[in-house]
Subunit: 449 residues, 2 copies
């Protein structure tokens, strides 16, 4: 045990490439650490030790035979259990799908394998990637929630089980666990990472995202999985750069940030408010508070209308086919979603483009929007997965969001969220890079509620 599991993906890929260690050694350290911690954290719905080691050995063999190496060669990655894997069960966090074995890998999983990744296992999702909390615990304090729905992905990366994991966001399911678990999380532009093979709950909202302990790791993985999905009319159709190349570029100036309280501000914890306000003060002239015009103030309701409408469409049938295998929380929610009117749904869809235009206009004058990633740190107990109020609004707009583990509130991580224009992930990465560098060592204070 050399603690290889603590390396970032970039470091581990470099170590394997330069033969400092093998993928099998890396995977064995990860498995050993998982074995040690899983009882407390419960981040995994499926790990098959032998299968993981076999993949690593195959990667090592390929390398020793002089094969060309993908960007993620030999790197273990966790896959949220709503994303199909052909060699592991995909149960969508529900007994309805117990033991389900998909015939094919999801497009994004196939892309990861092509890049050389080792699929380490399936990470715990809340039931149907929805609201009912999972068994997973927060590694910073196991009495606290890791958030949801990508609970296992956020916690496993934070707890050094693996360097990278895939999650999904419909409300706040990538960014909120990133904030609660103190890791980097990217919810990219809608459809940038292909959704074919994802258990869909809302075609307008569902977005696959990634977790890592460093910004560079997110940049690394995104290059391997930003591919079009011809079967999905919401697939991102703009051009996609090399994020690694773009990341090395100088921004030309220190980025300008538009600080938005957002309509979620009233729900934020006082200490979280103080922490981010202090941060904007440190940024001085590089950060200015802005307000978006109407109908931005209704954005939380618009998101809710679309989520409820499409959720009823995709999940409503389970109320009829498997009522007893649904949790009471999900059942109650789906029952109430059935009544959402088409009129509310269409009004929200119409508002979406209108509001996005005002976000786009704002970002003509700024590099990124800056706001809280969650209203506060991970809540104590497991009654809920915490509030997604700072996330649904951006998911609704289909814009890229990045959570950066910059703040500490009540002794727990509190993420700062950067938001950009659709399809401008590379700009978001550079803004985050410059921001982290500037604030390094200046945010050690623990804010308490």
């Amino acid at each position: 045990m050399k603690d290889l599991n603590r390396l970032s993906a970039v470091e581990a890929a470099e170590g394997i490439r330069t033969k400092k260690f093998t993928s099998e050694e890396l995977i064995r350290d990860c498995l050993s650490h998982i074995n040690e911690r899983e009882n407390d954290i419960q981040a995994w719905s499926y790990v098959n030790t032998e299968l993981a080691i076999r993949q690593a050995q195959k990667a090592d063999r390929h390398q020793s035979e002089g094969g060309s190496l993908g960007a993620l060669h030999g790197i273990p990655i966790g896959i949220k259990d709503v994303i199909d894997t052909k060699d592991m069960p995909t149960e969508n966090g529900s007994p309805i799908f117990e033991g389900r074995r998909p015939q094919h890998d999801a497009l994004c999983v196939a892309a990861l394998r092509r890049a050389g990744a080792v699929v380490m296992g399936k990470t715990v999702t809340t039931e149907f990637a929805n609201i009912n909390p999972s068994k997973t615990r927060n590694p910073h304090n196991i009495e606290h929630s890791p958030g949801g729905s990508s609970a296992g992905s956020g916690a496993s990366v934070a707890d050094f089980h693996i360097p990278l994991a895939l999650g999904t966001q419909t409300g706040g399911s990538v960014i909120r666990p990133a904030s609660f678990n103190g890791v980097f999380g990217l919810k990219p532009t809608l459809g940038l990472i292909p959704r074919n093979g994802l258990f869909l709950q809302s075609h307008t909202l569902d977005t696959i995202g990634v977790y890592g302990r460093t910004l560079e790791d997110l940049v690394l993985i995104l290059d391997s999985i930003s591919i079009p999905d011809p079967s999905d009319r919401h697939s991102y159709t703009g051009s996609v750069p090399s994020y690694q190349k773009e990341y090395l570029k100088y921004s030309g100036h220190f980025p300008k940030f538009a600080f938005l309280e957002t309509p979620a501000w009233a729900e934020a914890y006082p200490a979280s408010k103080s922490a981010i306000i202090k941060m904007t003060e440190i940024l001085g002239r590089s950060c200015k508070k802005e307000i978006l015009p109407s109908p931005f103030e209704n954005i939380i309701d618009f998101h809710a209308a679309i989520f409820a409408s499409e959720n009823a469409h995709y999940y409503g049938k389970y109320l009829d086919t498997h009522p007893r295998l649904l949790s009471e929380k999900l059942r109650t929610r789906l029952e109430s979603n059935k009544d959402i009117t088409a009129r509310a749904y269409l009004a929200a869809l119409e508002a979406r483009e209108l509001i996005y235009q005002s976000v786009e206009a704002l970002l003509e004058n700024y590099d990124s929007i800056l706001c809280l990633a969650a209203p506060g740190p991970a809540p104590h107990g497991f009654e809920t997965t915490g509030s997604a109020v700072f996330n649904g609004l951006w998911t609704f707009l289909g814009v890229p969001c990045l959570s950066i583990p910059l703040l500490t509130v009540d002794g727990l991580p509190q993420g700062v969220q950067l938001v950009g224009k659709r399809g401008e992930e590379e700009k978001l990465f550079r803004s985050a890079r410059d921001l982290c560098k500037k604030l390094d060592g200046k945010l050690d204070e623990n804010y308490t509620n």
Copy 2:
């Protein structure tokens, strides 16, 4: 008065081009005929004699100065009054818009003008192109409805006021008036004719169409107005041929027709059923009865769900802003539309592509689908505009439909409808051409109920 108004658009364009007569002479004959008939037919919401003559004189001047001539040079065209015209009011059939003067021509009107057309005036639409009957009368029997909502366009062309008119269809508003008034009507593929400048009531359904007394006239006008609309995500994006060139081509064989009763069959009049069945018998082996697989049997409900949902979205606000200026019929309908659930709407949208695939598969083996254009001839009286039950299903699928005035029931016209694949208008035109030729003189019987 030389009765130039009785010419087809193709004949009139040729007459002007070869200087047999001027556009002004043509327009004056049309105006004179309108003046004579309008008291009975009431097809027009706006005709400005001087403005029409000025346009004609300008066209004639352009020609005498040796200017190049568009395909519709000097030809009068009627515009349904839900389509914007910059030099005439556009009132959407409602006192809410009394005297409204749009700043711009609709894209399709601008295209007509570029092709040299004279915008003759605005034809009567039902209130909001919806269900409440208009004042227009059927020229075949003024005690009967001309259908709706493109009542004035269908009646004015049938009654020789003008050779060509634009209409719109959300349920059956192009094809039904074509059938009732005994003219040719084309509801093309969704978005083939641009909708910018149309008073929208359903983005998934609203389709601009055309009326003429000959098939060749529809071919002629379609070439001038099949242009993309970058502002409309439902604009047709496939390639568009020269319909006039395609129309001259030999089909290679006499077309094969799939006769579909459709789920509307139970509502058809007995004599209309007999008439079309007799027609299919005359066609013999060229026509075969077919049945489409599930969920085709629910298509009428799917169409209704989308119509109601989007109608509530676009028109719902008038319930609040102008409740007293809405007819009771429309008000009642909009009130009930408010309750349609998003779940029903999304289920219908999903079914749409599924059903279209089965239509596409059927049309691998046939040139066109053949069915009734309306359940019977124009109804007596003006309580309703008649049933759109044979039309909504095809509007729902966004496929091109052509009504051909082939049959006679109760002494009134009964249209036969041809339906094709999306974007295959040219094939539909050729099928209709061959069908009309084959049946010429064989369908003189008057079927009575």
